[in-house]
């Protein structure tokens, strides 16, 4: 088991490294290919023509005249060991590891911006994930037990509707109903859970619901088809032949096997969504990582985009790693 985890960990590190190289190359090299200096993307508007001495000084200041590998090392060593960021005029800003650089457009360390955004995204994701997992699996299981029944039809029809409705539709509709019409949630502005748990919960309920609504529908459908398949397996017949109670047969023998593939999908979904709940965060005005990334893309704020991309990639890789390890625990046939 330890060997398995170490091997997977090394593999995960390798993937993260590849991601860092690729994103670095994309964001640093593509501007030069299109004949614009990355300096523009790096510090924003540069009031000097590209052949002026001042411009060249800036290029030199930020190291864009160095060979590519040296630039990459500068970027990587910042993440690994931290660095001091200086524009050569003001006092240098200390940027401890992992340092993703400084956003000259928003005048903040990228690391700080990501750090501030992360609790919002995690709050949104964890709550929604619990809701959609429990809701989706419950609906899917009930549907699977009596395929074609009334429960099944209601469950599957509503999940089809839920899959078809995008968050930029369900989100505003929920806001319209609960905040503006019924007035049950008069103030949905975000507050950190450590400061005001009640307000945190109030601000999160609608985002949770609209995100979970979409995913619960998918999970209900996957659970249903897995469960129908599992309940037809020979070992379910054996469990019944032993005289086990229906609940034991369904939950312990059926659901246990049917849920295994869902663990994989769940891990990947959660990993992916950490950096990409853009629409939900925008609709509900939550300043999470998705919001940060969309804002940075609009402003062409290169260091932030770079930082967010790498953080999102790390999240996905970590989620996959956890899924791999969980899989080995869940399914004894997976050799570790």
């Amino acid at each position: 088991m330890v060997r398995f985890i170490i091997l997977r960990l090394l593999g995960a590190l390798f993937v993260v490294w590849i991601v860092s190289v690729v994103t670095f190359l994309l964001f640093q090299v593509v501007p030069t290919l299109t004949d614009t200096s990355p300096v523009y993307y790096y510090i924003g508007k540069v009031p000097f023509p590209p052949d002026s001495i001042q411009f060249k000084a800036l290029v030199h200041r930020f190291g864009f005249d160095l060979p590519l590998y040296a630039q990459y090392w500068h970027f990587l060593s910042g993440i690994l060991f931290g660095q001091n960021i200086t524009d050569g005029v003001s006092t240098p800003i200390s940027c401890p590891a992992p340092c993703f650089g400084y956003s000259f457009r928003q005048n903040e360390l990228v690391g700080t911006m990501i750090l501030n955004a992360t609790p919002v995204s995690i709050s949104l994701l964890v709550g929604a994930a619990i809701l959609w997992l429990v809701g989706g699996v419950a609906v899917g299981t009930l549907s699977a037990l009596k395929p074609g029944s009334f429960v099944d039809r209601v469950g599957m029809t509503s999940s089809l509707a839920a899959v078809s409705l995008p968050i930029f539709f369900t989100g505003p509709v929920l806001l319209l109903i609960f905040e503006y019409t019924l007035g049950w949630l008069p103030d949905t502005s975000y507050a950190p859970i450590s400061e005001d748990p009640a307000q945190w919960l109030r601000s999160m309920i609608l985002p949770w619901l609209s995100l979970a609504f979409l995913f619960a529908a998918l999970y209900a459908r996957i659970t249903r088809s897995n469960m129908i398949e599992t309940m037809g397996e020979d070992y379910i017949r054996t469990a019944r032949a032993k005289g086990l109670a229906r609940r034991t047969v369904v939950v312990k023998h059926g659901l246990r096997a049917a849920l295994t593939p869902i663990v994989t999908i769940f891990g990947i979904d959660v990993g992916t969504l950490i950096g990409s709940t853009i629409i939900t965060e925008t609709v509900f005005n939550l300043r999470g990582i998705g919001y940060l990334s969309i804002k940075s893309i609009q402003q062409q704020d290169l260091p932030v985009i770079l930082g967010v991309t790498i953080v999102a990639a790390v999240a996905l890789v970590v989620a996959n790693l956890i899924v791999d390890i969980l899989y080995a625990v869940i399914d004894p046939r997976v050799t570790v």
């Binding site: 397996e233 032949a241 004894p332």
Partner: protein
């Protein structure tokens, strides 16, 4: 319950019920294509200590019958009618919970493919002790001890060590031994073995059958052995029931079925069976055609589409009239065939028996 009702162990005609009695069992499945009559009017008796072999081709209704006895069609769309009496208790009309109490404790079942019949995520040991814990009020520790004892009994070497192994870590024969341990841990008085050796090596088959026989002797249980291997039947069973197209076409004692079979389908089965004691040059004679559709069962005798002897019956009776299961020359021997009994015996002696 009113005291004027007869004891359930006594039949309406005053006779004592057999330990297992199946009367006019019908299992029909409504499908989009029509009604599938998997079992259509099956009756047989079985006492404790007896081994009944049910023989027939795939799709003849053998497994569906065994699932009906365990009440496993409950909750599915199958329409089950008729009566199944197990030690004075009726199963077809009983509720799921009533039958569930009997499953595992009174009747145990061994399935064909032990790998797919064991749950891949639980250790073999826990699956066996789980079967014990449902019906017995004991601690988990005692259940584990009992499961290990049972594993030893079915011949698993190093049983305490293998208790925690998963099914995929067992060999095929060991898995079937574990299945037997699971089916017998509550000492059921009825054991149904549904093709228990089909998925196994020939060398292991004999061991498994021997094990079933040993445990049968020890528990004095009634055993139903479902198989399409006539060799297995000849070696193991006391009684045989031949099924074709969801119906019983011939039943009787094992020696009667092998030495004085009367139904053309049984003859066909015997002729298509390789034998060690015959000339190796002789070719086997397969039964022509394939089993009938259970949706459009042939009118008249179910076997008429493949029977080479329909010309021995006057008129078109084989195709128009459904033959009754009539008693043969010896009591207990019953045959479903339009050919007169005397003529059947003659055909067997002069035409079939010499060519075997």
């Amino acid at each position: 319950m009113s005291s004027t009702l007869p004891s359930p162990a006594i039949r309406a005609d005053g006779r004592k019920r057999a330990f297992l009695e199946v009367n006019d069992l019908r299992v029909h499945f409504p499908t989009a294509d029509g009604l599938v009559k998997s079992v259509d009017g099956l009756s047989f008796d079985l006492e404790r200590g007896e081994i009944l072999g049910i023989v027939g081709e795939s799709g003849s209704g053998k497994s569906v019958t065994s699932l009906a006895i365990l009440g496993l069609h409950k909750g599915s769309n199958a329409k089950v009618t008729g009566e199944i009496w197990l030690d004075g208790r009726e199963i077809v009309g009983a509720t799921e919970d009533e039958v569930r109490e009997l499953r595992g404790s009174e009747m145990g079942m061994i399935f064909q493919d032990p790998l797919s019949s064991l749950h891949p995520f639980y250790s073999v040991g826990t699956q066996i002790s789980e079967a014990y814990l449902v019906h017995t009020k004991v601690s988990k520790k005692d259940a584990k001890a009992e499961a290990i004892r049972m594993l030893e009994k079915v011949g698993i070497p190093n049983a305490p060590g293998r208790y925690n192994d998963y099914p995929h870590q067992f060999s095929g024969g060991m898995r079937q031994r574990a299945m037997i341990a699971m089916a017998l841990i509550c000492k059921p008085r009825l054991l149904i073995a549904d093709e228990p050796t089909t998925a196994l090596d020939v060398t292991v088959q004999a061991q498994i059958l021997e094990l079933i026989k040993e445990l049968h002797d020890e528990l004095n249980s009634a055993v139903i052995l479902i198989t399409h291997d006539l060799g297995v039947v000849a070696e193991t069973c006391d009684k045989v029931l031949v099924m074709y197209g969801g119906q019983c076409v011939e039943k009787g004692r094992v020696d009667e079925l092998f030495y004085e079979p009367e139904m053309p389908y049984t003859w066909g089965l015997l002729r298509s069976m390789p034998r060690m004691d015959r000339d190796r040059q002789t070719r086997l004679t397969p039964i022509p055609g394939s089993p009938p559709s259970l949706i459009n069962v042939p009118s008249g005798c179910v076997f008429n589409t493949r029977c080479p002897f329909t010309d021995r019956v006057d008129g078109d009776k084989c195709r128009t009239e459904h033959p009754n299961l009539e008693l043969g020359v010896t009591p207990g021997h019953a045959v479903r065939c339009h050919i007169p009994a005397a003529q059947r015996q003659e055909i067997w002696l002069t035409e079939i028996s010499p060519s075997l």
